[in-house]
Amino acid sequence: MIAFSLFVAWHIFASFLWIAPPSPLREVVPAKMLSGYMLPMFGQSWSVFAPEPINGDYRIKVRAVTNASGEEQVTEWVDATEVELSMIQYNLFPPRAGLGAYEVASQLKGSFDKLTDDHRVIAGLNYFDEDWQSRLEQKMKGYGQPELVDAYVKAEAQALAYSSQVAFAMWGQENVVRVQYQVTRQNIVPFAKRHDPEAERPPVQHVTTGWRGTVVRDGQNSAAFEDVFVRQYEKIQQEGTK
């Protein structure tokens, strides 16, 4: 009985240290011992919306160069975030399908913001011919801070794998030659100005990246992506024209 009780006492103490904001009290238990016990089973983080809640919208738009009739053409932008978010708006039981584009955009923006100006200039160039991913990475690393470049290249690979799916769904995989995405963040009207009819939202922050080759990961089922994305896209088109 004592053994069980002592174990639970340890569990509660460890949970307390893990859940509470970091404080000098954590020195009582070696950090490795604490994380070794808590992870992965008791992994959690409760700094949700703290110290400041989110106050802006992330978006990702996608366009492509297509080659349907033997002639290359640039498509219109498709707002993937709008398509997905429409699944969760005014829906008491929203599917998590509505969150992917938002997460892709927010992760990409986060890693792009950490880059230096030199890196960002490179990101704005076009890279789509053979070996473009490693050439882009090499060029960026020429300007130092390889760990930031690694994080960015990873986020970009994800954004491109997503954008490629959007492009395939919209214009057909066989037609898409290369893609471009546009990630933005725009803050909301500040609380104090919410009743001001003149109030405008702060300017849109852009992530500027060039044209890229498509990225398709092994095992990706483009049809499964297309089914949902196109259905939802057509749904909001119809609602828009009503």
């Binding site: 009985m1 110290p51 809640p53 005014y90 829906n91 399908a97 089922n221």
Partner: protein, 360 residues
């Protein structure tokens, strides 16, 4: 000559010494009694019976309902968000969570690229959630459900939220508890067999594990609320009393824009909601201590969660939290509620049959 004086000069010191000794042994006696009675109270609280059996049964049902709700509301888009349509997120090659790397929890992760297997597993998980709700063979079903659930939800880190963590931790603790003693198929079956072994040695061990689980779950949820408040308290929008406005104005967390504008229109209400969130979270553990304040605490936290569920589009996160808070409602209150519902049902039935017989 000095020898004669010694006892005289020493007498007051001696008296004081004896007094102190007596006092000390008396105090030790009191301390011993206190320790012994606390220990025996603790002993009997831990060993004599299982506490909050109705509350934990409600927790089981609501957690099952939360899982079922999440699975059903994602059913038609499951391949897009979690299955073969979501391989672009890179988790098939390099999972972000540790769970897919653990054999038992890699079930769903391994099935992502196979639509047929994935859907089969998904439907099996739905079935397990239903069995958890009705409390059928819980000792076997609940561990199986936990393994499958974790393997499902952790295979995609990108779309997860903290509700998933809370859910996993709560169900893990509940494996050591008696969650189907009340309001379950297990209870019905046991009633027929009429075997109650609460006072036997294995029965006492069961009581101990159940009650320790209850303590751990209580600590978990209280820490979560209190630390949530501490984290927030430092932020300017929170201390400024307008923090709830911000997420409600974004597209991601303001899923009912018209409603968001409506509830954030009147400033004082925004401040009440903002500060109220912090106060109710921080005060929750203290409010639990007495019955009248407990009622205030539970109603407060329930409205907090209903707000999150509806306005921010996080119903399953909220239901998970509400499910766990159910353990703080006394068995007597749950029994009373159930009796009232049964009474109403009976009344409705007699009224209906009365009406039916009149029609004939």
């Amino acid at each position: 000559m000095t020898k004669q004086h010694l006892p005289q000069t020493n007498r007051p010191i001696r008296t004081a010494w004896i007094f102190l000794k007596l006092l000390f042994s008396h105090l030790v006696g009191i301390a011993k009694t206190v320790v012994v009675s606390i220990a025996s109270a603790l002993d009997s609280w831990l060993l004599d019976s299982r506490k909050a059996l109705y509350g934990i049964a409600v927790t089981r049902m609501l957690l099952g309902l939360s899982a079922l709700g999440l699975l059903l509301s994602n059913y038609s888009t499951r391949l897009y968000s979690f299955g073969s349509g979501s391989v672009w997120n890179g988790e098939v090659i390099e999972p972000k969570s540790d769970f897919p790397k653990i054999w038992l929890f890699s079930l769903f992760h391994r099935a992502i690229t196979n639509d047929y297997t994935y859907s089969l597993l998904y439907i099996a998980l739905i079935a397990l959630a239903v069995l958890v709700i009705v409390g059928w063979r819980t000792r076997i079903v609940l561990p199986a459900f936990l393994v499958m659930w974790v393997s499902f939800i952790e295979a995609n880190d990108m779309l997860g939220d903290q509700g998933d963590n809370m859910f996993r931790i709560a169900v893990l603790i509940m494996l050591f508890m008696d969650t189907s003693r009340r309001w379950s198929f297990d209870a019905k079956r046991r009633d027929k067999q009429k075997s109650s072994a609460d006072q036997s040695v294995p029965g006492q061990l069961g009581n101990l594990l159940h009650n320790l689980g209850l303590v751990a779950l209580t600590a978990q949820v209280c820490f979560v609320y209190a630390s949530g408040a501490l984290y927030k308290a430092g932020g300017a929008p929170w201390s400024g009393g307008y923090a709830v406005y911000n997420p409600l104005q974004t597209e991601r967390f303001g899923t009912w824009p018209v409603l968001s504008d409506f509830v954030t229109s009147w400033g004082p209400m925004v401040a009440v909601a903002t500060w109220g969130s912090i106060i109710i979270q921080f005060a929750f553990v203290f409010l639990l201590l007495t019955r009248p304040t407990r009622i205030i605490g539970l109603i407060g936290i329930l409205s907090f969660h209903i707000g999150i569920a509806v306005l921010m589009g996080l119903p399953w996160f909220s239901l998970t939290m509400v499910a766990i808070d159910s353990i703080f409602i006394r068995d007597r209150t749950w029994k009373g509620m159930s009796a009232r519902v049964q009474h109403l049902a009976l009344k409705a039935r007699t009224l209906a049959s009365g009406a039916a017989s009149r029609e004939i």
